[in-house]
Amino acid sequence: MNDCPCNILNGGFCERHQIRKSRHWVDLCHNNPRWWTAWEAGTGPGQKQNPKPRVFKDGPGTQLHKMLERCGIQVTKTCQCKSRIRTMNKCGPDTCRENVTCIVDWLEEEARKRELPFNRWLARLLVLRAIAKARRAERKWRAKDSPATSATPPQPPGCG
């Protein structure tokens, strides 16, 4: 039996886990280690998700997107641009720099679909410029924000 301090055997608001528990859930809190552990970790049933950590959004993906938009190339409903923008932002400037070829491949693929002229050298330049812009923007953002509240970019799921 867990040392569940909820003195609400008939159900009610649990101060420790900050949720309303029914009799059954109080019973699970007392007797089922899985429920107890999850509630203690703040990830148990009924506990709302923690607010998302503030994430830097003007990463290389967003920067590249803005540059392409200025050239009249828009995100469409059928293209994969949005997910790739997200991936690039998650990757962060360093990982994107390591995977420039992958990103240029994405651009070439999309250009081919849209039947647009494509030059790999120019595309590479565009990507590198987006990465540089993202670095500057991130430095500025971090200077404003305390390091504790900024999220570390995860490793890229789609690159390399």
């Binding site: 059954h24 859930w25 699970l28 899985r34 999850a38 009924g46 998700q49």
Partner: protein
């Protein structure tokens, strides 16, 4: 010697099809416990076509047998440690019986303590009618009438048992395991790792073939989808439903439903595992109206939870039963990652088991007499502000937990 094999995976299985030289020596994998009144267990060539296991009684198969004859399999199902839980008493057992006669009783003993001591439970299969191929399966006080036609060529009928000590449940069926009506029982089979088979056919004896025993799960996978699982967690026989977050406590039309719970139990006789349960919800008006809500949860890809509402015997057409399900934690997580799709307020987890359904939004048009009786559009919209506008609408969620 019995044929042994491992799956392509690491799941442990032991099988014996008895296809070997006829002998009264079954080999080292078997312990002939009882049934030796006039001989013992033996392997015979039956009908000149198939080798089978026979409890020897006289010289002719079918001539007679020993009541309560038992033979133990000496191979033990291994015990694993999965996330801190051990798999004691988790196993499947399968055996074919050959040319059953009306009135025959066959038994499978799961979770035996060792290779000479029975466990807590016997699963009994009685062939009750040979014209309709009817069988009666019994586990303790739980029973199921089903059918199982012997194979035209071999005369064999498959009997299967799955035992899960961790979750205190046993299931059994006659015929193909994945397509036959199944008896579910919340009987704890005990923690043993051995199994035995036997019969109670003093007049007709018994012929067995194609025995196998194996484990249900290992740390990395489910070996046999015998019981319903949520990710790799076996679903309990009994579940509990509960109304939660009914407008988060604001005094609206559904507020009195907060915390109302009900029990849902597994239903026997179906090929897919389902749980049913019901609860009564009453209005708080001077003349209360009682509505009965019957829930059915199905173990399918979508974890479908259906609700039917009755007022007396009459089914009420509630318009409010469409909902988004946050049942797949991965899906919920994916939504959470998507900037364009707000994260669910509450979402499901498999461990601990809490399947979350909702939100259901009840509006003025919904004919549900829960808590405050529903108001008509005239009260809520046309006739100006109602006396208490919160009585027109409401929101609720449902959580199914272990």
């Amino acid at each position: 010697m019995g044929a042994r094999r491992r799956c392509c995976c690491e799941c442990w299985v032991f099988s014996d099809d008895f296809d070997r030289t006829p002998s009264t020596d079954l080999g080292t994998d078997w312990n002939e416990s009882t049934g030796q009144a006039d001989g013992d267990w033996e392997i015979i060539l039956y009908n000149s076509t198939q080798y089978v296991l026979h409890e020897k009684y006289g010289e002719t198969p079918g001539e007679g047998g020993t009541a309560d004859a038992i033979v133990f399999c000496k191979r033990a199902v291994p015990v694993r440690n999965i996330d801190g839980e051990t798999t004691d008493g988790e196993m499947f057992i399968h055996v074919d019986v050959v040319d059953p006669q009306e009135g025959d009783i066959y038994r499978i003993y799961p979770c035996c303590t060792d290779d000479e001591t029975l466990g807590a439970v016997a699963v009994e299969f009685e062939y009750t009618d040979d014209t309709t191929d009817a069988w009666l399966i019994t586990i303790g006080s739980d029973t199921l009438e089903t059918t199982g036609e012997p194979n035209v060529l071999t005369g064999e009928v498959s009997l299967s048992v799955c035992a899960d000590h961790t979750n205190g449940q046993i299931k059994a069926c006659v015929g193909a395991r994945w397509a036959s009506p199944t008896l579910y029982s919340d009987t704890d089979p005990g923690s043993g790792q051995y199994a035995a088979i036997g019969h109670d056919n003093a007049d007709t004896g018994a012929l067995f073939d194609n025995f196998s025993i194996g484990e249900l799960r290992i740390p990395t996978e489910i070996c046999l989808a015998c019981f319903c699982t949520c990710e790799d967690q076996l679903m309990p026989y009994t579940l509990y439903g509960e109304f939660k977050w009914c407008s988060d406590g604001t005094n609206d039309r559904l507020s009195c439903m907060e915390g109302i719970d009900w029990t849902m139990t597994a239903v026997s006789g179906t090929t897919t595992m389902i749980w049913t349960g019901e609860v009564e919800v009453t209005t708080v008006e001077d003349t209360p109206v009682v509505q009965r809500i019957v829930f059915t949860l199905t173990c399918d890809a979508n974890w479908t939870l259906s609700m039917v509402v009755y007022e007396g015997e009459t089914q009420v057409e509630c318009a409010c039963f469409s909902s988004t399900w946050y049942g797949d934690p991965d899906t919920a997580a994916a939504r959470w990652e998507d900037d364009d799709d707000p994260a669910p307020e509450h979402y499901s987890t498999c461990s601990p088991l809490a399947l979350v359904y909702g939100p259901w939004e009840v509006n003025v048009q919904d004919d549900c007499n829960w808590c405050y009786k529903y108001l008509t559009p005239l009260d809520c919209v046309i006739g100006g502000p109602p006396a208490d506008p919160t009585l027109c609408n409401g929101v609720f969620w449902i959580v199914i937990s272990e």
